[in-house]
């Protein structure tokens, strides 16, 4: 009876919820995402779906930087329905907010439908399901805090509980939401107690609210943490969170050279207008601040916060829906002004409709390009995708057929530097980090090497020897590449794939005849460019390095080579310290031609001014992955150099690249 009464009061919300859920159910539950190419991102997403379908668990069995909801939603019916439910809840929260904001049927439904269309066409439901959580939480927070004079502990506890529950499904978004809740608590405290910020009672009250909030989170998160503990995933889950800053280091790419995309420009424009509106309101026209003002303020802060992620690595297309929603809220403020000037609501509605159509068609915002196919009753989504990719990329099947002839059942195949699709093609075990990109840190490379040690065959993709951002693998995954070159020999080349087999005896890759199967790999390993790495090492580690005594010191290339010719200098644990006194011209690439036993390698790096230091580690140069004697070093172009050689001590082994 109580439920019936509640439903009667909220018939409209109930109808909208049912409509949204049904619409999303039809759009999502009946379709599989189709991966039409084997680019890096598609392979990663497909691999995670494959791993989920095999019954593995994220964090414990595979590196996974997102929440459990996204890991299981494409392969598990319960999580699929839960995903649709979460999306519906997000859209409903937006509808409820818009209804309270506009108090006008046409504007409420007009803006809500435009938002729904925007997410459908530009953002995609996968992205909205993640970042929409933070947006919805902010709407809930501002509605609670700025519509009531007093927020009870019960409500704060429930919010904490909800955050804890969301943490189990989308831990990254829940963390952002917690940060914003604490921020809102602090701002609300400041606004309510401007004249008595340090009053003991007020501070205790604030402290109590924060404790109640944390209690709610702890209880909400507890079942998930217990489950992680029982499934032996807790340790790795905590490690994933604590090492997330490593991701920001290896993922960082330049922002400004690529920031003039329509998506970025749209977000900047909204940020600028939003910040102008907030500052104008606070400083030039102080008056009563409505709930909408606070919502705009916090959404702008959320956009600024997420822009830091965008600055690290472009996610511009994933933020435009938040910018669009802020535009709707700013549109409401503008609507109030236009009404004051006695402009008819109909004309305002037409104006907003034209603005939306122009936004959708003229700005060039990036459309959601995911492909979907209708689910097949006899095949799972993973099987559909595997069949599609193996028929489109015949070389995958060629490699599989070749290896299957020579491989025994219990022998593993390893894919380098990425291409996890081979683990799907072979239906075989996989490493924890299935590409060198996620395994950029040393501890992650070592985990991959542990798996490589148990593998008999390696498939190397010649076209991805710089897996991301044009950073070559001899720099990104030098340790793993070293192990590969020293422990495996080249067996066969199939199109752009090289197949390596584990050595039975000690084989030197650079003297073994098998290397002629791939002149491209030879060139790649013998002609290397270290770019800014030697300079970075020289800037930050020269001083510490000079505390040790150098093994040899030379003031010119000629004296160095005279010494090398008359003495056998082994590359084992050898560092070269180069002080450039004078270059023949500024901003050049310097290259060292290093000869060893008839083989020559070219090592280039950037040198851009005089009186700078550079450090090179011989054991990270591919030719010297195995220890060799150095016969000659030629420096191009000519200049004035001081050259020293050091034996790597313990500190240098741990700190010098």
């Amino acid at each position: 009876m109580k439920i019936v009464n509640i439903l009667k009061k909220n018939v409209e919300y109930a109808c909208v919820s049912i409509f949204i859920y049904s619409y999303l159910y039809i759009k999502i539950a009946y379709y599989c995402r189709l991966f039409t190419s084997i680019d890096f991102d598609s392979q990663a997403l497909f691999m995670w779906d494959y791993i989920a379908s095999k019954g593995y668990f994220p964090y414990r069995d595979v590196y996974y930087p997102y929440g459990t909801l996204y890991f299981f939603k494409n392969t598990n019916t319960f999580f699929n329905l839960l995903f649709i439910f979460v999306l519906s809840a997000l859209f409903l929260s937006i509808f409820v907010y818009l209804k309270k904001l506009w108090r006008n049927f046409y504007f409420t439904y007009g803006t809500f439908i435009s938002f729904l269309v925007f997410v459908d066409v530009f953002t995609g439901y996968d992205t909205f399901g993640r970042y929409g959580v933070l947006m919805s939480f902010i709407l809930v927070y501002t509605s609670i805090f700025f519509q009531k004079n007093y927020v009870s502990s019960k409500i704060i506890f429930l919010i904490g509980l909800l955050n804890g529950f969301v943490f189990s499904l989308l831990y990254d978004q829940a963390l952002y939401s917690v940060v914003f809740f604490v921020l809102i608590l602090l701002i609300d405290y400041f606004l309510a107690n401007r004249r008595a910020i340090l009053n003991k009672n007020n501070v205790c009250n604030l402290g109590r609210k924060i404790i109640v909030f944390w209690c709610g989170i702890s209880i909400g998160t507890l079942p998930f943490l217990i489950f992680l503990y029982l499934s032996n995933s807790l340790h790795q889950f905590v490690l994933n969170i604590t090492t997330v800053q490593d991701l920001t280091i290896y993922a960082k790419t330049p922002f400004f050279p690529y920031s003039t995309t329509p998506d970025n420009l749209f977000t900047y424009a909204v940020l600028l207008v939003g910040l102008f509106y907030i500052t104008h309101k606070i400083f030039l026209k102080p008056s009563f601040y409505s709930n909408n003002f606070y919502t705009i303020l916090y959404l702008i802060l959320a956009l600024l916060f997420l822009e830091q992620k965008n600055i690290i690595r472009s996610i511009s297309g994933q933020l435009t829906f938040i910018s669009f929603f802020v535009l709707i809220l700013l549109g409401h403020e503008f609507y109030k002004l236009l009404i004051k000037y006695k402009i008819s609501s109909i004309y305002i509605g037409i104006y907003y409709l034209v603005v939306f159509i122009i936004l959708a068609n003229v700005t060039g915002l990036e459309k959601n390009s995911s492909n979907f196919i209708k689910r097949n009753n006899s095949l799972t989504c993973v099987e559909e995708n595997r069949n599609f990719l193996t028929s489109k990329y015949k070389q995958l099947t060629e490699v599989k057929n070749f290896i299957n002839v020579i491989k025994k059942t219990n022998e593993n195949v390893y894919s380098y530097p990425g291409n996890p699709v081979f683990y799907i093609v072979f239906d075989s075990p996989f490493p924890y980090y299935f590409s060198t990109y996620e395994a950029s840190p040393q501890y992650a490379q070592e985990k991959r090497i542990d798996f490589l040690k148990k593998s008999k065959y390696v498939v190397v993709d010649l076209s991805t020897l710089a897996i991301q951002d044009n950073v070559p693998e001899y720099t990104r995954s030098s340790k793993e590449l070293k192990f590969l070159i020293n422990s495996f020999h080249l067996l066969k080349k199939i199109k752009n794939f090289l197949i390596f087999e584990r050595n039975k005896t000690d084989i030197d890759f650079f003297t073994d005849s098998s290397r002629f199967l791939s002149p491209e790999l030879n060139r790649y390993l013998l002609k290397i460019n270290l770019m800014a790495i030697p300079r970075s090492e020289g800037i930050y580690k020269s001083q510490k390095m000079k505390e040790e005594k150098a093994r040899f010191n030379f003031n010119s290339e000629i004296t160095m080579n005279e010494y090398l010719r008359s003495n056998r200098v082994n590359s084992h644990d050898l560092l070269m310290y180069l002080h450039v006194k004078k270059m023949s011209k500024k901003n050049q690439n310097t290259s060292l031609l290093i000869a060893s036993n008839g083989i020559q390698t070219q090592v280039s790096f950037v040198t851009n001014q005089n009186d700078q230091n550079y450090i090179l580690n011989f054991s990270d140069i591919p030719l010297f992955f195995k220890d060799r004697y150095i016969d000659n070093v030629t420096i191009n172009p000519e200049g004035l150099y001081d050259i020293s050689f050091y034996n790597r001590n313990q500190w240098q082994q741990n700190h010098i690249w």
Binding site: I249, T279, L284, L338, Y341, I343, D469, S536, W657
Partner: protein, 136 residues
Amino acid sequence: MIKKKSIPACFKYYLVILIAAFILSFIIPQSIVKVTLFIVLGIPLLLLIDQIEAKVFLFYNYSLWVMLVLFMGLKFRELRKLFPIPKIDDNRIIGFVHYNGYPMYFDTVIFLVLLLCPILMIVLYKLIYKNLLKNT
């Protein structure tokens, strides 16, 4: 200066111009139309500013900002050299920034400077100019 009483009528004519400009976008080359459309779209925003002194101040404020953006665009490489190149830490991570010597926090600093400059100007305007008016 448009009188308040004539604004509703002007808005009607404005809508006609906007819709005409949008229809013309299918005939005229895109880049010209985009710029025209955005300028036309922004005209009603002038209603936001009803104080003459604020209009003048805002004009100077955003003109200075546009000049700052152009200056930073032209001197981008030189500004980049003012920031240190990243250090390779004990985790031996080599990403784009380490490989190319691109400063890690350069983008963040420039982004915040560009975004917050006009806001700081408004705050300074409020603090300095308005206090001067009060005193006089």
